[in-house]
Symmetry: C2
Subunit: 161 residues, 2 copies
């Protein structure tokens, strides 16, 4: 985190990247913790299975990285393609986005990250959108923890990133 006496930055593109990737590593471990035959089928209370939630997380994160690159923010740029109900495909796309975040986010201008855009979920800055997406990931991953416990499986520790 860059600091100066006069105006320390609470958050930089680099620390946003580290925060996000830490969460993504943990979510990846939760994806791996499910038995293959439960990832896209098991749920509690009629909710969506964890594999479906993980694809949603990946889709909206990819949308944001695309939009930062193209400056196209409309809902039509968000993928609506049906996703394979397979862990291997999910993890391959997950890892591709990991590499892309590492490559692209540190060089994203702070000016762009703090300029309001018309996103499908309302007018907000890309930074606020990134936090909304991280929060959505943490929210759904917490649900995945309950699914794992209900399956009798110990989830990975929350504090390990």
């Amino acid at each position: 985190m860059t600091q100066t006496e006069s105006a320390p930055m609470l958050l930089t593109p680099a620390s946003l990247l580290a925060h996000w990737q830490g969460h993504r590593r943990l979510t990846r471990r939760v994806i791996e913790a499910f038995p293959e035959d439960q990832l896209f089928s098991f749920s509690v209370g009629g909710m969506r299975p964890f594999g479906v939630l993980a694809w949603e997380i990946l889709t909206i994160s990819t949308y944001l990285m695309n939009a930062l690159h193209t400056d196209q923010w409309g809902a039509e740029t968000m993928s609506r393609e049906p996703k394979p109900q397979e862990r291997t495909a999910l993890l391959a796309e997950w890892d591709a986005l990991t590499a892309r975040l590492d490559a692209e986010l540190p060089g994203t201008s702070a000016a762009l990250l703090t300029t309001e855009k018309d996103l499908p979920f309302g007018r907000q800055t890309p930074t606020a959108a990134a936090f909304y997406m991280i929060d959505n990931e943490v929210h759904h991953r917490g649900q995945g923890y309950v699914y794992l416990r209900a399956l009798g499986i110990e989830p990975p520790p929350f504090w390990e990133r």
Copy 2:
């Protein structure tokens, strides 16, 4: 969010406050959504009931606000008192912390918020600790959503803050 051409801040004490309070308002609605007799008893997969998780969230958030005020960061400053298993008491303490965050966080110096301290969960900046606490809140609240669904209750919308 304060912006200049040269070095826009991705996050300020004011935007951190707004982000945190938005999450705390949503968590409060989840506390209210539970039937009184289920808040401290119902769970899934042997996990802790939501009322117990909510007290934990409140305890660590209060610890951070105390530490920012006193600059005492040791684990011994974290409350270990048993908490009443009553929604009224929980919400009263919740609302007291809401008022305290509004009063104290905007005036907290950015220098203090970005200086590493020895916290019970490791050496980190108060800003990183605040995000860890918010993430912990979102994580446990996501579990509360599953409990509510398992009870046949529609949870409050995630996007409403």
